[in-house]
């Protein structure tokens, strides 16, 4: 894992000290709320429905057990015993008191964490594939590149006041777990025909009010030019992006207005001026950062584990969990373990202090001290020996963390919605809970296969509803909660936006409607065909009929 150098440590330390002073000045009345608000937002501190909300950055979703224990400690000491993992691979506290926030930030800084650039019109926390460094699919570990981008973008003076916020995601696998096509910039490491590794550069994707699947503006960018090319994109955006209208300020609007070709030309022109300058890191610096992400020292093991086989045969619950929640590791004898934060009827993405500590202990003992946060609001232990899976599962079960539903219909993304969020139209979490309860039977879920349900409480789309196989958007109709369903979206390598199929459904109708959709799919599917593929084959018509059948 990356470790802070003296610069990182100094930046974070200075920022906490500065913010402590700003809080004192606000409390004494020296600063007005109008003056203070932008300062607190620069430190990830929002004011939500019930209280302040502190958003803490988890760079590319990677945590050590020490860091996760600190997050648990903060939840217990300063909050209400839990924290919320978000679709941005970040973590949020829902109840911190302003007077405690400087101490919380102090505590975070002792484990090399902070809340810088988790808000505001700057380059936000870079996100990545939660299987980075563990999956056999990847060309190389994408995280050194995330870290290089993090260092370049941290407090970048030219890009601290962009027209709007800016999100970058990086992946290095064909199977896209980082949703790179719905970010301001998506980077996909791949091999050229000559075998050289470089980036496909996707610009101007995004969700929200104007959802767009990002177009590729460069098929292949040699790795060494990453920073100069990113800088060129950001300069064009900073110069031409709209600042007169917040809803038209994201880079996707600029790319759309200019057209991909013209936008590309502008970037290439800008790039010509800085390409090969000292923005582009020398190989030795890239290698220096890469060392931090060297693979752990794996044991040489056979592919199969005899003890795992035995446990699978003797315990059906364990067997199911292995089938559903573990993924193939590049190293023989190891597996990737997904920890579901979606218990049946639970709040998606919430974890208690005790659960975080349990996950941290497991990571320390069984996963080379690493935990990942996924954009689907789950956790992941990237490197677990197959021999240890049963022990890991047993502990997870004790902490209600062993729900075997990764990728299934109850593994729902839901934003906080009107239960917490001041921008919400409607609640999201109760809909997720009711759908999860409706499909509580694990045989049924597993038989249904991959179905991605994603729920947002307003058009800002933090719950990624546009790219859900089944997307649900909360809309307010004269003070009543209604839900607009979209179908056929995907955030993966086959990214596409869902179709809006018709009028909104009341909160009483929506869960039955989802069940009818799923029943229809079950009746129509071919062997092994996913919900999304059946939808693509049959088209919206019959699904729409099913959705509104009883209405």
């Amino acid at each position: 894992m990356y470790r802070y150098d003296e610069f990182d440590a100094a930046i974070v330390y200075d920022r906490v000290k500065q913010f402590r002073g700003q809080v004192e000045r606000r409390l004494s009345g020296e600063l007005s709320e109008d003056e203070f608000k932008p300062l607190r937002l620069m430190n990830g501190l929002y004011l939500q429905l019930h209280a302040y909300m502190l958003r803490v950055a988890i760079p590319y979703g990677t945590l050590s057990s020490k860091q996760l224990r600190k997050l648990a400690h903060i939840a217990r000491k300063y909050d209400k015993g839990y924290a919320h993992f978000t679709t941005r691979q970040n973590v949020q506290y829902n109840w911190p008191a302003l007077v405690d926030v400087p101490d919380i930030l102090d505590g975070l800084s002792t484990v090399e964490m902070h809340a810088i650039q988790t808000s505001g019109n700057c380059i936000r926390n870079v996100t990545s594939d939660q299987y980075a460094g563990a999956t056999a699919e990847e060309i190389e570990d994408p995280r050194p590149w995330c870290e290089i981008i993090r260092q370049w973008s941290t407090l970048h003076p030219e890009f601290s006041f962009l027209p709007r916020k800016f999100k970058i995601a990086v992946t290095a696998s064909d199977h896209d777990r980082a949703a790179v096509r719905v970010h301001d910039i998506g980077l996909r490491l791949h091999k050229s025909l000559t075998g050289e590794v470089g980036f496909e550069v996707i610009v101007g994707g995004g969700l929200g009010r104007t959802p767009i699947i990002g177009p590729t503006i460069r098929e292949f960018l040699p790795k060494k030019h990453l920073l100069s090319y990113l800088e060129a994109i950001l300069r064009v955006y900073n110069l031409y992006g709209r600042r007169d209208n917040k809803y038209k300020a994201r880079i996707k609007i600029l790319v759309n207005a200019e057209g991909v070709d013209r936008f590309r030309e502008q970037v290439e022109q800008e790039w010509a001026l800085i390409k090969g300058s000292d923005l582009d890191l020398p190989v030795c610096e890239i290698d220096r950062i890469r060392v931090y992400f060297s693979p752990p020292v794996f044991e040489r093991l056979p592919h199969e584990s005899a003890s795992l086989k035995e446990s699978i045969q003797s315990d059906d619950g364990f067997a199911r969990w292995v089938r559903v929640n573990t993924a193939a590791h590049k190293q023989p004898g190891y597996a990737i373990v997904n920890i579901s934060l979606k218990p049946i009827g639970g709040v998606p993405g919430d974890a208690t202090d005790a659960q975080m500590e349990a996950a941290a202990d497991l990571a320390e003992r069984y996963s080379f001290d690493e935990i990942r946060v996924t954009h689907e609001q789950n956790l992941c232990l990237p490197h677990v020996k197959k021999d240890n899976l049963f022990a890991v599962w047993t502990t997870l079960k004790q902490h209600d963390l062993a729900t075997a539903n990764i990728g299934l219909v109850s593994d729902i993304i839901a934003c906080p919605g009107l239960d917490y969020c001041t921008l919400a139209n409607t609640r999201s979490i109760p809909i997720a809970q009711r759908i999860s309860e409706r499909f509580a039977d694990f045989d049924v879920q597993e038989n249904l296969g991959e179905i991605k349900v994603k729920i947002s409480g307003c058009i800002n789309a933090c719950g990624h509803h546009h790219v859900g196989h089944i997307g649900i958007l909360g809309v307010d109709k004269k003070g009543e909660e209604f839900y607009q369903v979209t179908l056929g979206g995907s955030a993966a390598e086959d990214a596409c936006l869902g179709d809006i199929v018709g009028r909104g459904l009341s909160s009483g109708e929506v869960v039955d409607a989802v069940e009818r959709l799923v029943d229809f799919y079950r009746g129509e599917r071919n062997d092994g065909e996913r919900f999304l593929d059946a939808y693509r084959r049959l088209g919206p018509g019959p699904f729409k009929e099913a959705l509104y059948a009883n209405a």
Binding site: R26, L27, S28, G29, L31, S32, E33, D34, K37, L47, Q48, L49, H50, A51, Y52, K80, W95, P96, A97, L98, V99, V347, L418, D419, Y420, A424, R427, I429, P430, Q433, D476, K478, G479, E481
Partner: protein, 94 residues
């Protein structure tokens, strides 16, 4: 009818302006104003006040419960998350 609401500066808790000019945590104890009076009460709070942040008006019934288009939002603010009845004011009032 209207009431004035805000978040308490030091800890962010939802508060309402009481008839004596102090802040109360309970909407039932809040001052209820006619529309114009409410605007005046809000305007007279002063922007640099050190007890609260983000003050605004909400619609309420005469009995002190949220009404109008934002009734659900304000009910949730006044009670706590509907999915965690162990949290927020609903957990303390009972």
């Amino acid at each position: 009818m209207k009431a004035v609401t805000a978040n308490r500066l030091a800890d962010g808790r939802v508060v309402y302006l009481a008839p004596d000019g102090a802040w109360t945590e309970r909407l039932v104890n809040a001052a209820i104003f006619e529309n114009i009076e409410a605007e005046n009460a809000l305007a007279s709070l002063g922007a640099s006040a050190i007890e609260f942040a983000d003050a605004y008006l909400i619609e309420v019934h005469t009995d002190g419960y949220p009404s109008g288009r934002e009734a659900l939002r304000e009910t949730i603010r006044n009670s706590g998350p509907t999915i965690r009845t162990d949290l927020g004011k609903q957990a303390e009032n009972g």
